[in-house]
């Protein structure tokens, strides 16, 4: 696995730094009169991660006199009037991400709109009784389920608040990038040139690529991407529960076809994220609402996939554990049952995994899905992106306070090392989990059953895994 990790990280230890200084198409020298406007930072991509990056930098005291630009291909959306019905695209926000959003003032807006904290996460296997429960000892919130539109609304407000520093270009797709030569001894412009679809040009000292898993910045920078399409699509929908409940638990059950998760939105509504095969996903979208609801309930409640052998082995292991740790297993709760689905809230999108071999080059940095793409089973996708932002903003802030050139590889490499160390293990683990749980083969089921039960009984391992950012 260390070889796999090394491969994921891409760069061999001894790769010469010179390779990072690209010799791409040269930026021509322009006279001062016709020079395109020069920005300190340009963020390409106005999704949750790109907007948050621009907002965090815009609110940083050491960026007070700097010029930042955010490029978003789509039009400016009106987030002022949120519909009463919940959107079907939601994210699980970790406490660390919440801290980042509050550092730029966005979290207050989220709280004033709507969000659902959850205290507990119950994950269990469809093939056995094995279950693991995550919760904080002090019964604090483990995380928050927030609609993506709510996060965007909050970020847009905070971007407006620093409009003197951050210029947002809507309807501006970047179509070309020109990279500078390393800055010594050349007469060409040392900045990155950005060309927009409408012909406008910008120059920047640092280009941050936040343009999603098909990142143009990454492709143009010729950064290799290790990617893999899963044979799965995720089906999302907004569901209404049979009866109102406290609904502060996130539920996830691993079916052989893929995990199904129920994320709480309110006391009566939850969001569905069901990763399954492409065919099954299309079927789910096509079937009528009643059958859809039945499928969901059956997925959570049915014991079809159990086998006596596994059940017995699991029970035996559980009693063994309870001898060693009498307080071992937490109480198993029962997931809520679903009554109906919001019409037109069903949608599907394909899933894949990806990791860029490099996150940075001279004057370029990748964050969010542009750098790494992960399966939603761990609820980590956007949190990894927010973690990237926190790290990069920290290094850029220090660099600005030291008067350094913002595009210098020195501090960009520090960001890359820190984040790769963190991300690679999590992405690899998520991928392994996904594959481990995609089978009904008895030995693997036994392995993961025992593994899950053991992990459930060992607090240090549990706490360390995922929600403790």
């Amino acid at each position: 696995s260390s070889a796999a990790m090394a491969a994921l990280r891409g760069r061999p230890l001894r790769a010469p730094l010179g390779a990072r200084l690209r010799a791409g198409p040269r930026a021509p020298l322009r006279s001062a009169a016709s020079a395109p406007p020069l920005y300190d930072v340009v963020v390409s991509g106005g999704g949750m991660v790109g907007s948050a990056m621009a907002a965090v930098l815009g609110h940083d005291i050491h960026f007070y006199d700097k010029k930042i630009a955010l490029l978003e291909a789509g039009p400016r959306k009106d987030y002022d009037h949120l519909p009463d019905s919940y959107s079907n695209r939601v994210s699980s926000i970790s406490p660390g991400s919440a801290t980042l959003l509050s550092s730029c003032g966005a979290w207050d807006h989220v709280c004033s709109l709507r969000l659902k904290p959850f205290r507990r996460m119950q994950v269990w296997d469809a093939c056995s009784e094995a279950m693991i429960v995550f919760e904080k000892d002090d019964l604090d919130d483990m995380g928050y389920i927030v609609e993506n539109d709510v996060i965007m609304s909050a970020l847009t407000k905070q971007l407006d608040a620093v409009a003197d520093r951050v210029e947002v270009f809507y309807g501006s797709k970047a179509v070309g990038y020109t990279w500078p030569l390393p800055s010594h001894g050349c007469d060409t412009s040392p900045w990155v040139q950005v060309e927009l679809a409408d012909g406008r040009r910008l120059q920047t000292k640092l280009l941050i690529g936040a343009d999603g898993h098909n990142s143009v910045v990454r492709k143009e920078a010729e950064i290799q991407n290790i990617e893999h399409q899963y044979d799965q699509s995720a089906v999302v929908a907004t569901l209404h529960l049979s009866e109102a409940t406290d609904n502060n638990v996130a539920w996830q059950r691993f079916l052989p076809t893929g995990p199904i998760a129920l994320l709480p939105l309110s006391d009566t509504a939850s969001s569905l994220v069901w990763s399954t095969s492409h065919n099954h996903a299309s079927e789910l979208l096509a079937m009528d609402e009643e059958s859809f609801v039945d499928s969901i309930n059956s997925a959570f409640w049915s014991n079809i996939n159990h086998s006596d052998f596994i059940d017995a082995a699991g029970a035996m292991f559980r009693s063994a554990i309870s001898l060693l740790r009498p307080s071992g297993s937490a109480v198993r709760q029962l997931p809520p049952s679903v009554a109906r689905v919001d019409p037109e809230s069903r949608a599907m999108f394909p899933l894949g995994m990806g990791h860029a071999t490099e996150y940075v080059q001279h004057r370029v940095a990748l964050i969010g899905d542009a750098a790494h793409r992960v399966h939603p089973l761990a609820g980590q996708g956007v949190n990894l992106g927010f973690g990237d932002i926190a790290c990069l903003a920290h290094h850029l802030s220090a660099a600005a306070f030291n008067g350094s050139d913002l595009g210098s590889l020195k501090h960009l490499l520090r960001f890359e090392t820190e984040r790769q160390r963190h991300n690679v293990s999590l992405i690899a683990a998520t991928d392994v989990l996904k594959r481990l749980y995609s089978t009904t083969l008895a030995p693997l089921v036994l392995l993961r059953t025992w593994g899950l039960q053991a992990t459930n009984a060992l607090p240090p391992v549990k706490v360390r895994s995922h929600f403790s950012e």
């Binding site: 730094l17 050491h62 006199d65 010594h184 220090a398 030291n402």
Partner: protein
Amino acid sequence: MWGGGAARALTRALRRRRAAAALPGAAGDDHADLSFQTGLRSILQDCNRKRQLKSSGTLPVSLTEMKSNMFTVKRPFSTSHSSVDSKEMKKFQLLAHKWWDEEGEYAALHSMNDIRVPFIRDTLLSMSSNYHLGNPLSGIRILDVGCGGGLLSEPLGRLGASVTGIDPVEDNIRTADRHKSFDPVLAKRIQYKSSSLEEIVEESMETFDVIVASEVVEHVADLEMFIKCCSQVLKPDGSLFITTINKTQLSYVLGIVVAEKIMGIVPEGTHDWEKFVPPEELEHLLESNGFSVKTVSGMLYNPLSGSWSWTENTSLNYAVHAVKAGAPSHATDTPPETDTQQRSATAGTAGTAPEGPV
């Protein structure tokens, strides 16, 4: 990671040594070619020979004259006094275009910014009462003596200061000017001049709030005159920042033998051990010329990681902060301090991250 950093540093050092050994030959006579092909080692040997003659001054610095005399070994003794040493100028002339390669000959100077800029910034912040958001050094006039390619002038300019950078080597000034020209903010805040310190004294009496002389005093011919000139162009209560190398056995072994000849951290022949300045001598010169030494602190370079850090030990590199005495009406009651002091707490540790909302 440690492995990566060490490997990278070694590859860098080896590449530089190979490059230094193969310096491009310049147009000129055979004597010149020979001189170039044996590299700067020959210049170092010249220095050793010259040391015996103990010249007290150097040629008057007319650059065209200097260029044509570049390859002559014998120099007439000078009659004028100048702090500029023309031998030193020769060495830097050869590398004038290499300043901005962060992985090249000047890599160690680039990474020294990580500690010397925060040192200057924090010291000045602690002495002033206003803070401009985003521009901590706004309104401060700084003179960067021996600015070279502008490695230190640019960060200071980015922090808001108005910087005047002077260097006797014209090629350095050309490089510095070109490098800053692409950034309109820097182009306005920084002015470069090809000049020695003495030449600007008359027109710049008491004009600067701060003088930085980083990695310079070990190259000047007459240190006392240098300090006197600093005092003349500095405003009363102005700050002088010096970083330089101590004259010890350790600095000979590590600073010359290892750094230049073995690891190639510094281009060979850059330093002349005889001209290294012990902190006691520097302090004495400063105190007797109207300065009060506030801080002396050792600096340590880690060749494996390529980074600098502060240390208590001043036997290799060290930094000094001194303040020019105030206007005559504000006579101090306490006698000037002569003890070595530790770096003040406000300066923080190397590469300290600021407390920002991140």
